[in-house]
C-alpha cells in the first residue's frame, strides 16, 4: 500500500452528503521550470484525485497536462506525487487525504519533466530492451505444449501483476537522488528480470548482466519501492533479494549453490 500507515487507523475524512470545496495545488510548467498553482474544486463522495484533475481540466484549465487511461488502477499511466507520496491518481481517494488543507499534486521527480504532471519515462522502455528476452525450453509434450505446476507459476504471476506505473522507480534513491540511470535498472526491472529468471520454462541466464550491467549491487534493500507499489508486489523480498542470492551463489559461492541445490532449494 502506498501509505506508510499499516492500518486504516486515521478516521476517514467524511465528505459531507452535500459538496465541499477543496484546494488543489498543482505543479504547472514545462521542462522542470514552473510553479504550483492553486485551483478550488467542488468535490463529492467517492472522488479520487484524478476526478479532480479532470474537473479542473473541464472547467478551469483545459490545457492542464496529465496522463491517464483506465481510471481503474490497471494501466499505470496516472502516476504522480500527491502530498509528496508517489501514487496513482485514479486510486487515491480524497477521503484518504487531509482535504481541509490544500492537496499538492506534482509530477514524478525521478523522470525529466515534460509538461505539468507529465514526465518523460522513455528511459524505462530503453532499459527493458536490453534485458535478455524469454527463451523457453523445448516443449514438454509432442503437441508442442508445456506442463507446469500452478505452485511454480504463482511466484512469477506475482511479478506479472506489474502495471509499469514506475512509482517504484520514482521512489528509489539510487535513481531519485543518485541518478545512476546508466548503471542501475531500478526495482521495476528487477521485478521484470525476476519474472524471467523464475519463469519455469525459461532457459536464459541473466545473472552476469544483473551483477555487472544492471547494478543490482547498488540496491541496499531500503524497501521504499515495495511500500509504494500499487500492485502490492513484494519487490524487495520476493524479487530483489532472491536475485541477489542467485548472483552471490553464481559468482562468489559456487559451493553454497551446489549445497542448496542438493537440499532442493
Amino acid at each position: 500500500m502506498a501509505t506508510a500507515t499499516p492500518t486504516q487507523a486515521a478516521p476517514a475524512q467524511r465528505i459531507a452528503a452535500g459538496q465541499k470545496t477543496v484546494t488543489f495545488e498543482i505543479w504547472r510548467g514545462e521542462k522542470g521550470k514552473g510553479e504550483f498553482r492553486a485551483y478550488d474544486a467542488e468535490v463529492s463522495e467517492g472522488m479520487v484525485v484524478l476526478d479532480v484533475i479532470h474537473k479542473i481540466q473541464a472547467e478551469q484549465a483545459p490545457d492542464l497536462a496529465a496522463r491517464w487511461n483506465c481510471k481503474a488502477g490497471k494501466c499505470g499511466s496516472c502516476s504522480a506525487e500527491i502530498n509528496g507520496m508517489p501514487k496513482l491518481m485514479c486510486m487515491t481517494r480524497l477521503n484518504s487525504l487531509p482535504i481541509d488543507k490544500p492537496v499538492r499534486v506534482e509530477p514524478m521527480k525521478t523522470f525529466p519533466s515534460i509538461r505539468d504532471l507529465v514526465t518523460d519515462v522513455s528511459w524505462n522502455f530503453e532499459v527493458k530492451k536490453k534485458i535478455k528476452k524469454f527463451q523457453p525450453r523445448a516443449p514438454d509434450a509432442p503437441d508442442g505444449t508445456w506442463r507446469m505446476r500452478q505452485a511454480d507459476a504463482d511466484r512469477v504471476q506475482e511479478f506479472r501483476k506489474c502495471i509499469e506505473c514506475f512509482l517504484c522507480q520514482d521512489v528509489c534513491h539510487v535513481l531519485r537522488d543518485h541518478h545512476l540511470h546508466d548503471r542501475f535498472i531500478g526495482p521495476r526491472f528487477f521485478v521484470y528480470s525476476a519474472a524471467l529468471e523464475m519463469q519455469p520454462l525459461d532457459t536464459a541466464d541473466r545473472l552476469a548482466d544483473l551483477r555487472l550491467r544492471d547494478g543490482i549491487g547498488y540496491c541496499n534493500i531500503t524497501k521504499c519501492c515495495t511500500k509504494v507499489c500499487p500492485e502490492e508486489i513484494h519487490i524487495t523480498d520476493n524479487a530483489i533479494i532472491p536475485l541477489k542470492e542467485r548472483v552471490v551463489d553464481e559468482f562468489f559461492d559456487p559451493l553454497g549453490k551446489l549445497f542448496r541445490r542438493f537440499r532442493g532449494e
Binding site: 476517514a12 514545462e30 463529492s44 463522495e45 467517492g46 472522488m47 479520487v48 476526478d51 481540466q57 473541464a58 483545459p62 490545457d63 492542464l64 497536462a65 496529465a66 496522463r67 491517464w68 487511461n69 483506465c70 481510471k71 481503474a72 488502477g73 490497471k74 494501466c75 499505470g76 499511466s77 486510486m91 481517494r93 515534460i114 509538461r115 505539468d116 507529465v118 518523460d120 519515462v121 522513455s122 522502455f125 527493458k128 530492451k129 528476452k133 524469454f134 523457453p136 508442442g144 505444449t145 508445456w146 506442463r147 507446469m148 505446476r149 500452478q150 507459476a153 512469477v156 504471476q157 506479472r160 501483476k161 506489474c162 502495471i163 509499469e164 524471467l196 519463469q199 520454462l201 525459461d202
Partner: protein, 603 residues
C-alpha cells in the same frame, strides 16, 4: 503549409493493444519494415482492462470442447448476424494463438495436470477461457509488448492519427501529431492496419478508457471504407455504480463464473425468472445445479447469471425500473455467499478474483468477501466497425486493414465474453500477415501534398479562434445524448432527437476554441477527438433507427421482437459523394453446408 517529420514503412499499424501488437509482430516476421503508432504509452492500451480470459477450444478442462462447439456458441451469441466465415476461422485458430503466447512467455493459470486452465463464461458451453486470475488482458498485452520490443519494430508512442492518406483510392499512409510536442508526422506506407479499439467514450457510463473515441472507424469511413453493424453496442451487465466517480468501471463476468449470483432488493435471484427459449435446454433451473456448474460439474447446466450479456443487462434494468433495485440504482452481485460452500472462504475469493477484491476495497470501501457489490449496466464494446474480408481483414480500401474491436463481423449482434481477446490475436495475426503480403506486392504510393496541408490546417483551427465552445463541454453533451437516447433500450423518436442533437453538436465542434499551445495540451486533443466521436455516434444512431427489431445487444422498445426480414441483412454505413452518411443493406453471409449442420447439431 504545416511542418512535419516523415517516416516510411511497408506496414503501418495504428493502435498497440492486443490486435495492433499481434499484427505488428506478424508483419515484421514477414520481413517488412513495420511502424507502430500508439495513442498512449506502449502497454497502456485498453486491452489491459480485459479480465475474464481468452476463449479457445483447447479442451484442456472438458475434452468435449472443439472448434465446432465454439463456432456454434459464437453464432448463437451473435444471433446469426455474424460473418460465419470469420466465426469459423476464429474458432479454429484461437487455440494455436493461445499456445503461441505461452511460447512467448505468457503464464496462464494451470490445470492439476499442468496444462493451461480454462474457465466457464457466459454463452460458452464448456470451460473455454484461458486466463490469468482476473487480469488476462494485462498478461496478453505485456507478453506481446515484451515480444515486440525485440522484433525491430519502430514504436511511436503518444501519437494520434488525424487522417489516413489515399492515392487514387488506395492506401498511402497516415498523417498524425505527437502529444509531447504537438508536431505533425507524415507516415508513408502502402499498407495500414487499423487496430484502434472501440467507441465507449461516446457514452456517459462506460468501462472504456479515454482512447476509445472511435478513431479507426472514423478514419476508415473518411477514407472511403464501409462500416457495418454499428447499431450493435454491448452494454456489459455488471459495472460499478457507486460511488459516482467510479460509475461504469467493469466488474468481471468472472465473478459470476466463480459462483457469484445476482439478487434484487428482495433477495431474489431474479435471473431464474426469465430464461430465453433458445438457451433453456442449456440453463440450470435450480440454484443447486447452477452452483455445481460453476464448480466444474460436467453434468450440470450453467446458472442463468451466465446467460448472454444483453439479456442479463436487460433483466437488471427491469428489476431497477420495477422498483426492486439496490439503493444506488443497480442490483446486488454476491460472491460472499460462496464462503459457506468452499473451504478457505474469503481467501478463496481473494485468490480467484484479486483485482476485483482490490478494486472494491480501494474505490468503494467494500470487502467483496463480506458484502455484496452493487452493479448495473455499462457501455462496454461495439460489435460493429470497419467491414473487412474474413480471410485477409482488408477493408474496401485497397491496402487498408482492420482487426480487433474496430473491425466488424466476428461477433454479429452480440459478443460472448472471452471472444474479444481471442479475436485480437487471431485477426491481428491475419491482418499483419496479409498487410505485409500486400505491401510486398504493391509499390510505394504517392502522397498528395494538398491532402496533407488540408489535414494539418484543419487540426490547428481551434488555436486560431479567439473564442468558441469548450471541447470538454461538447464531449459531455454528446455523452449525455448517446447515453439517454441511444442507450440500452431504444425508441424511434428518441433516436431521431439524438440525430438532431448530434447535428447541432457538429456545428459547435466546428467552432471550438482551445487556449494554450501545441505541447501536451489535452484541451486540443479533446477537440480533435470530437470529430471521430461525432462520426461514430451518428453511425450508431442511424443504424439503430434503421434496424426495426430487437436482436442481440440492440433492443428497441417500439419493436421488442425479432423480425425474420431483418435477420437477412447487415446494415452498412458509407460516406456518400456529397459528404453525408449513407445507409445500406447487405445480405448476411450465407452459412456453408457444414456450418448449417454444426448449428443444427448444437441447437
Amino acid at each position: 503549409m504545416p511542418d512535419y517529420q516523415t517516416h516510411e514503412y511497408d506496414v503501418l499499424v495504428i493502435g498497440a493493444g492486443g490486435a495492433g501488437l499481434r499484427a505488428a509482430v506478424e508483419a515484421s516476421a514477414a520481413g517488412v519494415r513495420v511502424g507502430l503508432i500508439c495513442k498512449s504509452l506502449l502497454g497502456k492500451a485498453h486491452t489491459v482492462m480485459a479480465e475474464g480470459g481468452m476463449a479457445a477450444a483447447m479442451g484442456n478442462v472438458d475434452d468435449r470442447d472443439n472448434w465446432r462447439v465454439h463456432f456454434a456458441d459464437t453464432m448463437r451469441g451473435g444471433q446469426y448476424m455474424n460473418n460465419s466465415a470469420m466465426a469459423e476461422i476464429h474458432a479454429k485458430e484461437a487455440p494455436a494463438r493461445v499456445r503461441e503466447l505461452e511460447a512467448w512467455g505468457a503464464l496462464f493459470d494451470r490445470t492439476p495436470d499442468g496444462r493451461i486452465l480454462q474457465r466457464n463464461f457466459g454463452g460458452h458451453r464448456y470451460p473455454r477461457l484461458a486466463h490469468v486470475g482476473d487480469r488476462t488482458g494485462l498478461e496478453l498485452i505485456r507478453t506481446l509488448q515484451d515480444h515486440t520490443i525485440h522484433q525491430g519494430i519502430e514504436v511511436h508512442m503518444e501519437c494520434t492519427v488525424l487522417d489516413l492518406l489515399t492515392d487514387a483510392g488506395r492506401m498511402a499512409g497516415a498523417f498524425a501529431y505527437d502529444r509531447e510536442r504537438g508536431r505533425f508526422r507524415l507516415f508513408r506506407a502502402p499498407a495500414v492496419v487499423l487496430a484502434t479499439g472501440g467507441v465507449g467514450r461516446a457514452f456517459k457510463i462506460t468501462s472504456n478508457s479515454w482512447e476509445y473515441t472511435g478513431d479507426g472507424q472514423s478514419l476508415a469511413y473518411r477514407a472511403g471504407a464501409a462500416l457495418m453493424d454499428m447499431e450493435f453496442v454491448q452494454f456489459h451487465p455488471t459495472g460499478m455504480i457507486w460511488p459516482p466517480s467510479v460509475r461504469g468501471i467493469l466488474v468481471t463476468e468472472g465473478v459470476r463464473g466463480e459462483g457469484g449470483v445476482l439478487r434484487n432488493s428482495e433477495g431474489r435471484r431474479f435471473m431464474f425468472d426469465d430464461i430465453p427459449e433458445n438457451y433453456r435446454s442449456q440453463t440450470a433451473d435450480n440454484e443447486e445445479e447452477g452452483w455445481r456448474y460453476t464448480q466444474g460439474d460436467k453434468n450440470a447446466r450453467r446458472p442463468p447469471e451466465l446467460l448472454t450479456r444483453d439479456h442479463v443487462a436487460r433483466c437488471i434494468r427491469r428489476e431497477v425500473r420495477e422498483g426492486r433495485g439496490s439503493p444506488h440504482g443497480g442490483v446486488f452481485l454476491d460472491i460472499a455467499w460462496i464462503k459457506s460452500r468452499v473451504s478457505g472462504g474469503a481467501g478463496h475469493i481473494r485468490r480467484k478474483l484479486p483485482s476485483m477484491y482490490h478494486q472494491f476495497k480501494q474505490l468503494a470501501d467494500i470487502d467483496i468477501t463480506e458484502t455484496p457489490m452493487e452493479v448495473g449496466p455499462t457501455t462496454h464494446y461495439i460489435m460493429g466497425g470497419i467491414r473487412v474480408d474474413a480471410e485477409t481483414q482488408m477493408s474496401d480500401v485497397p491496402g487498408l486493414f482492420a482487426a480487433g474491436e474496430c473491425a466488424a463481423g466476428l461477433h454479429g449482434a452480440n459478443r460472448l465474453g472471452g471472444n474479444s481477446l481471442s479475436d485480437l490475436v487471431v485477426f491481428g495475426k491475419r491482418a499483419g500477415e496479409y498487410a505485409a503480403a500486400y505491401a510486398k506486392a504493391n509499390g510505394a504510393p504517392q502522397v498528395n501534398p494538398d491532402q496533407v496541408d488540408e489535414i494539418g490546417a484543419r487540426a490547428l483551427e481551434p488555436f486560431n479562434r479567439a473564442s468558441g465552445p469548450n471541447p470538454y463541454d461538447i464531449q459531455h453533451q454528446l455523452q449525455d445524448v448517446m447515453q439517454d437516447l441511444v442507450g440500452i433500450v431504444r425508441r424511434q423518436e428518441e433516436m431521431q432527437e439524438a440525430l438532431e442533437r448530434i447535428d447541432g453538436l457538429k456545428l459547435c465542434a466546428a467552432q471550438v476554441a482551445v487556449p494554450g499551445n501545441r505541447e501536451y495540451n489535452p484541451g486540443w486533443h479533446t477537440a480533435l477527438d470530437l470529430r471521430n466521436l461525432l462520426t461514430v455516434s451518428e453511425a450508431i444512431a442511424l443504424s439503430a433507427i434503421e434496424r426495426k427489431e430487437s436482436r442481440g445487444a440492440h433492443f428497441r422498445e417500439d419493436y421488442p421482437e425479432k423480425s425474420a426480414a431483418a435477420a437477412k441483412f447487415n446494415l452498412t454505413i458509407r460516406q456518400a459523394a456529397d459528404g453525408s452518411m449513407a445507409l445500406g443493406h447487405q445480405p448476411v453471409v450465407p452459412l456453408t453446408g457444414e456450418q448449417k449442420q454444426i448449428i443444427e447439431e448444437m441447437k
